[in-house]
């Protein structure tokens, strides 16, 4: 069989049982309604500004002072220009605070924890002070919580993280069995990053799943481009890997810096630094420090 036919057949089989859920139309319409809180746009503010500028010129200097006074008040208020800050990816609550601080306004109330996906006027535009910014927001994507509330996220899957690079907080999600049966994972990130982003991800492999790490340890021997380091007397591999698990060079875009080792028989750990975070960290040193800080939880 040709490979394209085999792939096509596998794809068909893979999604054969998938059906669009009933109530999809209702859900789409509900999203539509909640999407935009329509507010007075920049147009109204600019119109005021135009009038404010035009009036004194048109009236000239010989006109009564009272007219100019009326024209001047909005003039000062509106023509004070501010640059629209970027609030996408922030929660409504944060966005409103930032915009207000910048001298802009937003129509409230909004669902505080929803995440802003679009804004109008756009980032970097110069607009009159007091202009209302129109925000589009969506509920925060639901991340899997397989292991429940982990508190600060440092204790899970039978281990405890004693060290994390400064500024990182728990990503508020956790996954089970994604890396083989009896594997547990969660991640840590800088606050305010978009959903799905991470800086440090930790995977715990228990039982059979830990064999994977043992195999990798054996495989990544000298000359494979992967370093061998020592974590509290146990051998660990430290290198760059692609999504598929192949080794990659340090410069490869998208390759993930990874350290892996066995904590005790039947319990292994891998720690990844995201490609984003690796750019601003001392990769090997941080990975080793995180690894050395990991101990078996009591």
């Amino acid at each position: 069989m040709k490979v394209e036919d085999a792939v096509a057949e596998a794809m068909s089989a893979h999604v054969a049982g998938v059906q669009a859920p009933p109530g999809l139309g209702r859900e789409v319409r509900r999203r539509h309604r909640s999407r935009v809180v329509r507010v007075r746009t920049i147009g109204a503010a600019l119109a005021t500004a135009a009038v404010a500028v035009a009036v004194p010129f048109a009236l000239g200097t010989g006109e009564p002072a009272s007219t100019r006074h009326v024209a001047n008040a909005p003039d000062r208020a509106v023509m004070d220009l501010v640059t629209v800050p970027d609030v996408t990816g922030k929660s409504n609550a944060e966005a409103i605070e930032i915009l207000k601080r910048a001298g802009l306004t937003v129509k409230e109330p909004r669902i505080a924890e929803n995440i802003v996906t679009q804004q109008q006027p756009a980032v970097g535009r110069q607009v009159g002070k007091g202009t209302e910014v129109q925000l589009t927001s969506l509920p925060k994507a639901v991340e899997p919580q397989d292991l429940g509330d982990l508190g600060d996220g440092r204790t899970f899957g039978g281990i405890h993280l004693g060290y994390l690079p400064e500024g990182l907080v728990w990503g508020e999600w956790s996954g089970k069995d994604g890396f083989g049966k009896k594997s547990y994972t969660t991640s840590f990130d800088e606050p305010g990053q978009e959903d799905g982003h991470y800086s440090v991800q930790v995977v715990v492999y228990e039982g059979d799943a830990s064999e994977r790490i043992a195999e990798r340890l054996a495989r990544y021997d000298d000359g494979s481009g992967v370093d061998k380091v020592d974590i509290d007397g146990r051998p660990a591999y430290l290198g760059y890997f692609t999504d598929g698990g192949e080794t990659a060079g340090e410069g490869d875009t998208g390759a993930t810096a990874t350290i892996g080792w066995t904590l005790r028989d039947g319990l292994a750990v891998e720690v990844f630094l995201s490609p984003d975070y690796a750019k601003k960290a001392d990769v090997s040193a941080e990975l080793e420090k995180i690894a050395e800080g990991i101990e078996i939880a009591r």
């Binding site: 792939v7 596998a10 893979h14 669009a20 999504d243 698990g245 490609p275």
Partner: protein
């Protein structure tokens, strides 16, 4: 939006939603739940412009939105990608009982998002090179080379898996 527009949108959903959802699952390589969320999001966009686009191939528009959203989601959600796809390259060889179909799907998921989208559109949806290119906003030449490279990678893995079964 008139009542007639609304009714036509419902008809459109009844006819196309399942197919769009399946495409999203294959392209973004995520869970059904994620794909559903993505399709809802994309359909909201379609709904927003419905009166304007309903007479002008709304399916192509919807498909474009879904495919591109699926690609960008697959790119963005690195955590999920690594959860789903981190696997030593020789797992297939270690597990001879692994179904060939599963192997193929796993290999498909390991392709870069856009390459995967090309494979899904060309070989599952049976779109022409030209149509695939316009859906993805690239040239037919890119579609051709991405499809060839994607298939070559899958073929390579398939050989490994088949040898293990033998």
């Amino acid at each position: 939006m008139t009542d007639e527009d609304e009714a036509a949108f419902d008809e459109f959903l009844a006819a196309r939603a399942t197919s769009l959802l399946r495409t999203a699952i294959l392209v973004c390589g995520a869970t059904h739940h994620d794909a559903e969320d993505l399709v809802q999001h994309a359909l909201e966009k379609v709904y927003r412009h419905w009166p304007r686009i309903r007479h002008d191939n709304p399916e192509a528009y919807a498909r474009k939105v879904v495919v591109n959203a699926a690609i960008s989601r697959a790119r963005r959600r690195r955590v999920v990608r690594e959860i789903t796809f981190a696997r030593p390259p020789d797992t297939a060889a270690d597990s001879p009982d692994l179904d060939l179909r599963d192997t193929l799907i796993t290999e498909l998921r390991r392709l870069p998002p856009k390459m995967r989208a090309v494979i899904v559109l060309r070989y599952w949806e049976d779109q022409s090179e030209q149509d695939t290119a316009s859906l993805l906003g690239c040239s037919p030449g890119t579609v051709k080379s991405q499809a060839a490279r994607g298939l070559a990678r899958i073929r390579e893995r398939m050989t490994v898996a088949e040898e293990a079964i033998r």
